[in-house]
């Protein structure tokens, strides 16, 4: 167990930057930069172990109870 203080939040982990070599609509950019579902309940998010090994990870956490269900490395796909 590590203290919460060691971690810093990186936001919704399901947001993907649009492919740069394709035609990108304004809506696609809005969705990437600004729009968020901000789910109540299970939420995949990015965290960095800032005061530790500095790795980025993905965490599936309940935004109402803070229960943690799953973790992945940052480069692993959410199944």
């Amino acid at each position: 167990m590590r203290s919460q203080n060691e971690f810093s939040y990186g936001g919704d982990a399901t947001v993907k930057r649009p492919e740069l070599d394709k035609e990108i609509s304004d809506q696609d950019w809005d969705n990437f930069v600004y729009n968020r579902k901000s789910l109540r309940g299970k939420h995949w998010e990015l965290w960095q172990h800032l005061s530790g090994c500095r790795q980025w990870i993905k965490v599936e956490r309940d935004t109402a109870t803070h229960e943690i269900f799953n973790t992945l490395k940052a480069n692993e796909e959410i199944s």
């Binding site: 809506q27 600004y34 729009n35 968020r36 789910l39 109540r40 935004t63």
Partner: protein, 418 residues
């Protein structure tokens, strides 16, 4: 409606205060309304009040899932100010300051508005320059702003740490003398009582669970107490905005985060201003009961918990003690949290939407209490006239697409990271 006055107080004293009218009724929802306001917080209640008062629209229901005033309007630290640099924020907030000054009379309810002044502390020359610029912008918009040097700050708040060897010495500050505080519950109750008296139905313990949208138009709302037919809906649910937006297939530039506040044990009067620390995020005032009312940063990650965690509180209070060391001797009385609708540029949204009859009021971040009257007034206008007022034209939903962000603090899209 029974007027609250000294005469009525005396009159009712003779019957042991047993015969006062109820402040508002407890109606069962009707089958149909002209306008439904979702959310019985400050903004929802104020919107209903101004719909009735300014636009004569009284066939209105406020639908509240819990009890009115149980959300952020009853959880905030009541700072009221208009010390903004950008025109859209400044003019909107200053319009609100005017409504605050008249509110107790207007609502016949003592909201205990106390214009005690707010001081934002500066801890470097650079920060003094930034404040001078903001102060000048405020004055150009007719808002009172005074740049204080170190000595003047000391006259105002001698209990702050003015020693030489501190990490963040006080260089000076920016003061808005007309800013202040008010009693938050009274604001909710005052608007509720007047709205009720003009015919608005305040429906509590009733949760909105879905919407009836036909051909891109609002046709009704589903609630835990039955379906209601309505053509116009005003959404004022603060931290629950994303939950209801999802039911409308809308994804908004909003994230829900948790903000905590706390009060100390009551002490003798020591602080008669609102003060903010300039080297972090901490603010303080003293309540009429003597408690030191304090708050600061968000917990820092998406949250619907309505209660906070200790690390942030510890961090915030460390800043407080750095600013006013005497705080370390006080015992903490209560801490609590509220879920906040954090917009991506730190400014709110009061606008129409792509769904006809659906009006949006959200994104209030740290500053929605002070906005209560101006938000209610402009939102009522937007709903009644089906067009935005010039005061809320800057608070459009599409500003995120067009690039007209209202990024007051230069925090960019992640206002919760600061």
């Amino acid at each position: 409606m029974q007027k609250y006055s000294i005469f009525n107080l005396v009159k009712n004293a003779f019957s042991g205060h047993q015969n006062w009218d109820l402040a508002w009724k407890d109606p069962t929802p009707k089958k149909e309304y002209d306008v439904v306001i979702i959310g019985g917080g400050g903004h929802g209640l104020a919107t209903a009040y101004y719909l009735a008062k300014e636009h004569g629209i009284t066939n209105v229901a406020i639908i509240e899932k819990g009890w009115i005033g149980g959300g952020n309007v009853g959880r905030n630290t009541t700072i009221i100010r208009s010390n903004y640099m950008h025109d859209d924020n400044a003019l909107f907030s200053e319009f609100g300051m005017d409504l605050w000054r008249k509110m107790s009379q207007d609502l016949n309810y003592n909201v205990m508005f106390s214009p005690r002044g707010i001081i934002n502390l500066a801890h470097s020359d650079a920060q003094m320059n930034v404040y001078a610029r903001r102060g000048n912008s405020m004055r150009l918009n007719g808002i009172d702003a005074v740049l204080l040097n170190r000595e003047q700050v000391k006259e105002n708040i001698p209990m702050a740490d003015f020693s030489e060897n501190v990490r963040f010495p006080i260089f000076g500050g920016l003061m808005q003398p007309s800013a202040g505080t008010a009693r938050h519950d009274a604001v909710a109750w005052g608007y509720a009582r007047q709205a009720d008296s003009m015919g608005v139905d305040i429906i509590q313990n009733c949760e909105v669970t879905g919407f009836d949208v036909i051909g891109g138009k609002i046709n009704g709302v589903r609630t835990s107490r039955g379906d209601i037919k309505v053509k116009k809906i005003g959404l004022c649910v603060a931290g629950s905005t994303n939950i209801l937006a999802e039911k409308l297939n809308m994804t908004l530039p909003i994230e829900t985060h948790l903000l905590q506040a706390c009060v100390s044990e009551p002490v003798k009067p020591i602080l008669d201003r609102v003060v903010t620390f300039g080297a972090g995020h901490f603010y303080i005032s003293q309540s009429d009961k003597g408690e030191m009312v304090m708050g600061g940063d968000l917990d820092g990650y998406n949250s619907y918990a309505q209660r906070g965690n200790l690390p942030t509180l510890q961090h915030v209070l460390t800043e407080g003690i750095a600013m006013m060391p005497f705080l370390s001797k006080l015992k903490m009385l209560r801490t609590w949290g509220g879920i906040m609708d954090m917009s991506m540029d730190g400014s709110p949204i009061i606008d129409k939407t792509h769904i006809e009859g659906l009006y949006l009021n959200c994104g209030w971040c740290y500053g929605g209490f002070k906005a209560t009257p101006a938000s209610g007034w402009t939102f009522a206008h937007t709903i009644a006239q089906d067009r935005v007022h010039k005061l809320n034209a800057g608070y459009s939903l599409n500003r995120f697409s067009t690039g007209h962000l209202l990024d007051e603090k230069g925090l960019g899209t992640k206002t919760w990271i600061s």
